[in-house]
């Protein structure tokens, strides 16, 4: 596994030598800033409303975690879905387009070293993205007293979603030599995995005789990332949710490894 770091370092540097990384990080920062401001204003408005109507109980139950940080991070993970495909699209497809796939596959490397190297590079990038988001709740600690644990759980959920999506992106990037196709495929996969699965279940199950609470419906709902992020955002760290992210990531990395290896047998 000693080549994993070499591959990761090269890919991360290549990312930051291309304009894509900066476009993505700029958009990400601007969106994060806007959403944070919106959440902050919403928080204040509600506080003023409650005060006007003398709703003391509601004022007392309001807190920075549930009413500001959670909705903020809850909207940011959806943005990952739109921006991350641009970051991961070239990770494997560009190796095919450059012909460097031939260099990697004839070097004394294992396919796992290649896949994990690319995964680490992607993780490096999403760590930067998560750090940018972390900056905003950090401001709140100057003026108020949010719960540290709950805030960190929220950020962890963002990092875990991003981790899973990096693996999906690597897989989509490994099936084609065309970056645009990789981008679209990643986006579609993330859209299905991230948001559409619960709707698909509800629609199809309600139509069939199975009902929305059948075993299949529950399994499909378990497969949706949203289900697990939302639980973590409420501050619940459940092994079942952590396991979901690890299993999904491992599954897509294994698929990528298989696809890359299949080049030998064509």
């Amino acid at each position: 596994m000693r080549h994993t770091g070499t591959i990761a370092a090269r890919d991360l540097r290549a990312l930051f030598l291309s304009p894509v990384a900066y476009v993505v990080l700029t958009l990400w920062s601007v969106i994060a800033g806007t959403f944070f401001l919106a959440s902050l204003i919403g928080f204040q408005d509600r506080q003023i409303q409650y005060q006007q109507f003398q709703m003391l109980q509601q004022i007392q139950s309001m807190n920075l975690n549930d009413d500001l940080i959670e909705p903020f991070i809850g909207s940011m993970w959806v943005i990952v879905l739109f921006l991350l495909p641009a970051v991961t699209m070239g990770l494997v497809s560009s190796e095919k387009a450059n012909g460097t796939e031939e260099l990697l596959l004839t070097s004394p490397l294992s396919i796992w070293e290649i896949v994990l190297g690319k995964f680490l590079a992607g993780m490096g990038f999403v760590t930067v993205m998560t750090a940018i988001v972390a900056f905003f709740p950090a401001i709140l600690f100057v003026y108020g007293e949010p719960e540290v644990g709950k805030t960190l759980t929220g950020l962890l959920s963002l990092l875990l979603v991003s981790m899973t999506y990096v693996a999906v992106g690597i897989f989509a990037s490994s099936v084609t030599r065309n970056q645009l196709i990789a981008f679209i495929l990643t986006f579609v996969l993330l859209l299905i995995l991230g948001m559409m699965l619960p709707f698909i279940v509800d629609l199809s199950m309600a139509g069939s005789g199975l009902g929305t609470d059948s075993a299949i419906a529950q399994i499909v709902r378990w497969m949706a990332t949203g289900t697990h992020v939302e639980r973590m955002l409420q501050g619940l760290v459940d092994t079942a949710d952590l396991a979901y992210f690890v299993i999904a990531t491992a599954a897509f990395l294994l698929l990528s490894k298989t696809v890359i290896e299949s080049a030998r047998w064509r």
Binding site: H3, T6, I7, R10, A14, L17, S18, N98, G99, T100, E101, E102, L103, L104, L105, T106, S107, P108, L109, A263, R264, W265, R266
Partner: protein
């Protein structure tokens, strides 16, 4: 298996009789099409061999199988005694490979690129800087070492590709059409680099081409394939001994092969 153990034991020893490249019954089928069939040959240490054939004869497919990039459907390949699949890592460490299109990262500089390649080719850390320096120098890349590869001319890119193949000082060099698409001056420069490598006497080289002059300029031995089969395997001096030009010799062999195929 015992053969392979001796191969490992003999590694580094002088005058070892293990062929640098051993190919037996190599074949590759794509559906119904047989790109390569029943190809066998051995190349001894220090030999420089021209791998010739018309376009579509199976040269690139063969080279990709020699380097382990694609798996053969039949037969086996051994590099310096190591099987390209069961002993993949050792075998791959012994090969330097320049594919048909040089495998370059456009955003890197020749220097950083060669440093990367030296790492994935397992050049020990202490020797890395010197290895990169030597490859840059041998391929005449010192003046462009810090330029982005995307800005380099085709000739320089080809040289970076060649530098990549030699940076880890491999026992065996596999070069797929190293001079294709270059201008006459660039061709002469690339050939000079290959000749210098060959002159060390330690370097085994197999290079594919369809330019006969290239073979005459660099190689001692010729393997000719047509439609995926070997039709000729002879030393250059034997081939041209009767005073015949290489061109005539090939024309003769090819016509005979076509006639046999038709029969």
């Amino acid at each position: 298996m015992t053969e392979m153990k001796t191969a490992e034991a003999g590694k580094g020893g002088s005058g070892s009789t293990i062929p640098a490249i051993a190919v037996q019954g190599l074949g590759k089928r794509y559906g119904d099409h047989e790109a390569v069939r029943g190809l066998s040959f051995e190349i001894g240490p220090g030999e420089v061999v021209g791998f010739l054939g018309p376009n579509g004869a199976g040269k690139t497919t063969t080279m990709r199988m020699l380097t382990g990039f694609i798996a053969p459907t039949d037969g086996m390949v051994r590099i310096a005694g190591f099987d390209i699949f069961s002993d993949a890592l050792e075998a791959r460490r012994s090969i330097g490979y320049l594919p048909e299109t040089p495998p370059l990262y456009p955003e890197m500089t020749p220097e950083s690129y060669l440093d990367f390649v030296s790492k994935i080719k397992d050049v020990p850390r202490a020797k890395r800087a010197a290895a990169v320096e030597r490859a840059l120098e041998r391929c005449g890349l010192l003046e462009v070492r810090r330029r982005e590869i995307r800005q380099l001319s085709k000739g320089f890119r080809q040289r970076v590709g060649l530098a990549q193949a030699i940076v880890h000082d491999p026992k065996v060099l596999v070069l797929d059409e190293p001079t294709v698409g270059l201008d006459p001056i660039q061709i002469r420069e690339i050939r000079a680099v290959i000749r210098d490598l060959a002159a060390t006497g330690r370097q085994t080289v197999i290079l594919s081409t369809h330019i006969l002059a290239e073979v005459e300029a660099i190689c001692q031995r010729v393997i000719l394939i047509n439609r995926g089969r070997k039709v000729l395997d002879q030393s250059l001096s034997e081939l041209t001994s009767g005073g015949a030009s290489l061109e005539e010799a090939f024309a003769r062999v090819m016509t005979r092969d076509e006639a046999e195929e038709a029969a």
